[in-house]
Symmetry: C2
Amino acid sequence: MFSNLEQKNSKNYPNSKHFLTFAAVMAFELTSDYVDILRLAIEERKDQFLTEQMQEHYAVDIAEIFNQLGFDEAKYLYDLLPEEVTADVLLEVTEELREELLSSLSTKEIAEQLDNMDSDDAADVINELPEEIQDEVLSHIEDIDQAGDIADLLSYEEGTAGSLMAKELVSVYAHETVNACIEEIRRQTDTVETMYTVYVLDDKERLIGLLSLKKLIVAHPLTRIEEIYDSEIMSVKVTETTDEISDIMRKYDLVVLPVVDSLGRLVGRITIDDVVDVIREEAEKDIQRMSGISDDVDSTDKIWRLSRARIPWLLVGMCGGIIGSRIIGNYETQIKIHPEMAFFIPLIGAMGGNVGVQSSAIIVQGLANNSVSGERLAPKLLKELGVGLINGLICSSLIFGYNMLISDSFHLAAVVSIALITVIMFASFLGTFVPLTLHRFKINPALATGPFVTTLNDILGITIYFLIGRILYSAV
Amino acid sequence: MFSNLEQKNSKNYPNSKHFLTFAAVMAFELTSDYVDILRLAIEERKDQFLTEQMQEHYAVDIAEIFNQLGFDEAKYLYDLLPEEVTADVLLEVTEELREELLSSLSTKEIAEQLDNMDSDDAADVINELPEEIQDEVLSHIEDIDQAGDIADLLSYEEGTAGSLMAKELVSVYAHETVNACIEEIRRQTDTVETMYTVYVLDDKERLIGLLSLKKLIVAHPLTRIEEIYDSEIMSVKVTETTDEISDIMRKYDLVVLPVVDSLGRLVGRITIDDVVDVIREEAEKDIQRMSGISDDVDSTDKIWRLSRARIPWLLVGMCGGIIGSRIIGNYETQIKIHPEMAFFIPLIGAMGGNVGVQSSAIIVQGLANNSVSGERLAPKLLKELGVGLINGLICSSLIFGYNMLISDSFHLAAVVSIALITVIMFASFLGTFVPLTLHRFKINPALATGPFVTTLNDILGITIYFLIGRILYSAV
């Protein structure tokens, strides 16, 4: 969410001496020993040492250090930081710590921090503040343009292009000259830190193209923009979803994507660093969904939040288990006669679950990167059934051999093997069919690779197993 | 892997008329109806219609269409494409189709395609070619600089900065003037399509800083570079791993990252679009690992490859099932007397598995985004045990109530409930402990969130369940 895309989190320190001679700056790696050293120094109030240490790091690294400290320690370090760095550090710490740090500041101090942020970051921070102080903070922002931009951005809905974009950009009218354009860049050089492209507008403020800085540099100063600009420009509406935006930027390898309103007027731009975060968050959410965690949580959250995020799918699993118990309950007398049937309940259940998860993971991934189209079900199902048949044959042959070796019951060996291959085939089918069907009904198929498919296959597996057992044993 | 980061996959067509008036180009969405129309047109050899249609799309969209066609159809369309587009389309189709298309070309024709690619993309393609023709293709490349760059890149190991970087960049010596720098940019404007930054070198070709194009535009033409360049520049060694690089670029929000050799000399640069692909691939691999798929496969792979990637973890699951069967086997007489014990085997197994996967997913995710440090085990284990206790109490109370309602066996109800909360606590512990331990021994913890933890918890659950059953029932 930073601003200077080329070399971000600029240290802004005059005396970072280790840069003077040789520039191969390496990334910082935080160790717990280093955190302990800082802790001790904070305890002993060694301000000079701490200030020197902080000067060695980028804002994002300082934030990482803060995340390892208690609030009082972090606050002590925060107060030692020079003003140019605090806004960047605030943006990079965990939401929890940011909330604590901000609540220790007056509304005027918060406004000063927001003044040093890009408009999109500032709007995000305001959104996190308690509602009753939001307007007050906004009124304290000195730069009126910045305050107006932030207020604009606050009006867009979460999860849309409007919520992701920043207002900082450079635009020119098509009828202007290269010289005028360079003047405009010079004028804006402080507010717009990241700049790769100048956007070209018609007289009605509508986006009609772009001009790369490279082209601007090599062009004659008196050339008119309309003679050299590139009219092929991809843009998104301000209401477009962030998922769609991350797909577009990834697919077309874009670094910046302009955002237009419904009249085609340029209102902002989205940069790749924000989208990289979206891509990662999406991947994390998918992994959580697959693992049966319903809310977006991480390990630093409070215990009760972590519990609440996990209990829904546990209850689904429990319902599955109860249904399973009723199904097995129907075979009570059979179990009394053939208790060895019970031995393989876990095996049948586990294999059904594993195969189902494997099948659905492949399909969900294919849907996510568009290599599976969601149409033409039959060939995909056939392929999965083919895979299921091969793996089912391998597994059921092995378990048949094992059972013949270990016990002398041909019947048990036959029941387990036949049930196993049947369960694997069914699980392959369900693992493919369920996510494709969810996708068709516009439900996120990642939901299906998790506890849902596992629970379904558990129940199905037990049903098939005992059914086959009854048939084969009664055929004796 | 394209070259123009601002607006990529440029259509390069003179007559894409829908751009002339209004520039809000929207992303292309491929439908199966459209593919059918193209199929029919290919069958009927409607070359003019097809050429017109292809002119409407970006290279990456044409590649998406190709991926939906058979090889003969794709090849027919490929031959209709103008030369400027074919290289870009080749880069974007699936590896399988690219192999087929390339094998239909002569080594000279392949060399022509490589001449139109960025050096990093060209090196990737050469790496995919059969070894016996690689040298021949390289010798046919007309641009000697390009051929040299590709040969250089081929010498770096897979998975390192060297394998990810491109050679196209603009650099100047610190003692040169702004004017000389602009001249250099003008000279290189054809080869280096993406340019946000000019790299600054000392007399020994060592990277000492950068100059943004913005700064270059607003600077006086006779200023020396050394007076205005920015000496704060992050770089990586050519041997750095791609994982590390994606972490660095994401953390520091970089769009380009220069690569230096062991003497600090600039040898290439890595752009964010390549890293976005790395991030996505990593996330996909994690999801596959969690789902018990051992190789990197996708749904378009052949059946036997899909089978092979899945069978290892199925066999692990099967071993777990067999161990489970032996454990239950020890309680054969108990099951004969209390067959209702068997009813809840699936419930206990499923809950242990679900809880374990939930716990480990949270930890793996925390390790991946550095919010969990991998040190100080105790507080994390305590927290997870806390979550386990809350959810375990909820679940076991519910199942106790259910069992008291549905059956009249207080013993069964007690056994299931006590076993359930014990299993949930153990599963929480293992789900946290296993990935943290793997991480400590430098093994990818994502392995642990999958079938491994599930299998382990299955076995553990059954052991606990029957043990508690024996104790409680024998206490009657």
